[in-house]
């Protein structure tokens, strides 16, 4: 029989290409494993990837392409919140389920499910929920009074900023002096110089991919000692930065870490590393999980028809690699666990796993 097509809308070029690559690797690993085990409802799965360049316009184009040419049964994507938001009306019109796995903008949840877009499901926690967890942790010791902000100039950065600001300001912490950076920003030294003279208690970082790496590197070189927080993706920092001790004290909240030894994670990390030569990051994990979830829905629906898959997703109860069970609420939002990581003595330490 023909294989069942599953679409992946993912940034394959542009500044977020690196994340897209990891997302794609995760998805490919899942497909490979599922097919090796006989596929879903006896049919093989096939992945069709379209580049969305992490922007809304290409996002919409990629979805159009997946639907009309790729003839996919379901779509996973689109990594970047802005692209996801532009895809949502399209899949709704076409009646194809969309599993959102990395985009964190709260708007997606608002728009999905009851009274809104019935075809969109999200398996990763929203910024709101991540921010609440992080804020609780940050203010626990009462030392932090003023938080500065460095965000990507997209839904991700601005959404993160908004979420963190609401939560922190409720607890009397000042969130000020932030700045938003366009993609592919090279030089953060002016911002860092400003931080050096402002001296906030922490800098919340909501950057992505190459920009984040660049920021951390220049942060390290600047000699600042203000702890970083927010969504610092420690796993993607190649050796150097963490080991150097320059970002000791940094905290980060993430839906995933390859360091946690719960569920089947250790085995997953091993399989991933063997195939691609790098450890998985949140994008790989979530790409993997999303495909697994879709396959599960197909099995339960006993059909690859988009409508049936959608119905099956609504009643999903899927055990993810980290051991948590994914179920969707009224707004099609699942509530997986999230981790708080901290760098202590040049090592990433898991500070807590909480349910969102």
């Amino acid at each position: 029989a023909d294989p069942i097509m599953i679409g992946l809308s993912s940034p394959q070029t542009g500044g977020a290409a690196y994340l897209g690559q990891h997302q794609r690797w995760g998805a490919e690993l899942a497909i490979e494993e599922i097919n090796a085990a006989g596929g879903a409802i006896g049919q093989q799965l096939q992945l069709s990837v379209q580049d969305n360049q992490c922007n809304p316009t290409q996002g919409a184009a990629s979805a159009e392409q997946l639907i009309s040419v790729g003839k996919v049964s379901a779509i996973v994507g689109a990594l970047c919140s802005s692209a996801t938001l532009s895809i949502m009306p399209i899949i709704e019109k076409a009646g194809i389920p969309l599993v959102v796995e990395t985009s964190t903008s709260p708007k997606i949840t608002e728009l999905a499910g009851v009274g809104g877009n019935k075809w969109t499901f999200r398996i990763n926690p929203s910024d709101q929920e991540l921010a609440i967890g992080l804020a609780r942790y940050l203010i626990a010791d009462g030392k932090i009074k003023k938080v500065a902000f460095a965000g990507e100039d997209t839904d991700y950065g601005r959404g993160g900023h908004a979420a963190l600001k609401t939560v922190l300001e409720k607890s009397g912490v000042e969130v000020g002096n932030g700045d938003f950076f366009g993609r592919d920003t090279q030089d953060f030294s002016a911002f860092l110089a400003r931080m050096g003279s402002d001296k906030p208690d922490a800098i919340a970082v909501y950057l992505n991919g190459a920009d984040e790496l660049n920021f951390l590197r220049q942060y390290r070189a600047s000699g600042l000692t203000i702890p970083l927080t927010g969504r610092v993706e420690f796993s993607e920092l190649q050796e150097g930065v963490v080991e150097s001790g320059a970002i000791n004290g940094a905290t980060s909240v993430f839906p995933y870490s390859e360091q946690i030894a719960v569920g089947d994670n250790t085995a997953f990390v091993e399989r991933f590393r063997k195939k691609f030569g790098e450890v998985p990051n949140a994008q790989s994990y979530e790409g993997y999980t999303a495909i697994r979830l879709v396959a599960d829905a197909i099995e339960r629906a006993k059909s690859a028809e988009p409508g049936k898959i959608r119905d099956a997703l609504e009643s999903a109860s899927f055990k993810a690699t980290l051991g948590d069970v994914l179920k969707f609420d009224d707004h099609h939002q699942a509530h997986p666990s999230a981790v708080i990581l901290q760098i202590e003595n040049s090592k990433v330490v898991v500070k807590g796993l909480f349910n969102t």
């Binding site: 366009g182 090279q186 002016a190 400003r194």
Partner: protein, 288 residues
């Protein structure tokens, strides 16, 4: 204090921009080609250094030297294969050609190298030089040193030697160049080699400062364009002054204003400058 830090940072970045801008200006001056592949050339320099330091264990200085050399040979190849065929007055053709080359190089890099950003650490990383409460990263100081030495040398060559004058002459009248016995292809080839070597050097010295990935060239290219225009097309000292102006205004805009202002600074400065000096800072015309 903040302001002086910002100015210092700006001057440092400006010096590095100058490496890129001067190369671009030189190539424009001789071939009348606005080199849209210059950003990728710069990227190649950075990637080469990452490779040499990361995989082959080179020290920073020899690696920078070898990278610049490697990029220069690539530039020569480009010249022989493509740029050589561009004639004066075909300046759009040059733009399209280099645009195409840039697209190919960039995507080939993504294909073979991957889009993953890399960090390059050298023996000079994370050391500082301090004076009067101001600190400069060692690596940036070295980059500035490179910039000063290579640009000064180039300037001396262009103004003091006959070969340098020939480089300037060629851009003004190709037929006259033939008549006095120059070999345009050889002279222009040298100019391209020097121009690309400078861009490669800039990439190499900046590799340990920024992250290295195939897409790093584009944002810097636009700055380099602005620099060349502000300085007066093909005018090298102009390009240097313009680089410093851009570096400092960016730094001030980013430090005292916001990141968007920092991004806009280069354009605003350029547009403002050209209202007062349409031919660039040092450009001059001759009678019709």
């Amino acid at each position: 204090m903040l302001v002086s830090t910002l100015i210092l940072n700006g001057l440092v970045m400006g010096a590095i921009y100058a490496l890129i801008g001067v190369g671009l200006s030189l190539i424009f001056g001789v071939l009348e080609i606005v080199n849209f592949a210059h950003g990728q050339i710069y990227t190649l320099g950075a990637l080469a250094l990452a490779l040499l330091v990361g995989h082959f264990g080179f020290g920073f200085l020899p690696a920078a030297f070898v990278s610049a050399l490697g990029v220069a040979s690539f530039g020569y190849l480009l010249y022989v294969l493509f740029l050589r065929h561009i004639r004066k007055g075909e300046f759009e053709r040059g733009i399209i050609l280099t645009l195409g080359i840039g697209i190919v190089v960039q995507n080939a890099l993504i294909h073979f190298y991957g889009a993953t950003p890399q960090i390059v650490d050298t023996e000079f990383s994370f050391k500082d030089i301090s004076f009067l409460e101001l600190r400069v990263e060692m690596i940036k100081a070295i980059a500035v040193g490179f910039a000063i030495v290579s640009i000064t040398t180039l300037h001396l060559v262009l103004t003091r030697t006959r070969f340098g004058m020939a480089i300037r002459a060629l851009s003004q009248n190709r037929e006259a160049a033939l008549v006095v016995g120059m070999r345009p292809t050889i002279i222009a080839g040298h100019a391209v080699v020097i121009g690309t070597a400078l861009a490669g050097l800039a990439g190499a010295v900046l590799a340990p400062v920024f992250t290295v990935h195939p897409l790093m060239g584009a944002p810097i290219l636009f700055k380099a364009f602005a620099i060349v225009i502000i300085g007066g097309l093909g005018h090298l000292p102009g390009a240097v002054v313009a680089s410093l102006i851009i570096g400092v205004s960016e730094s001030l805009a980013g430090g005292l204003g916001s990141a968007s202002l920092q991004d806009a600074a280069v354009f605003l400065v350029m547009i403002a400058m050209l209202q007062f000096r349409p031919m660039g800072l040092f450009g001059k015309g001759v009678r019709i």
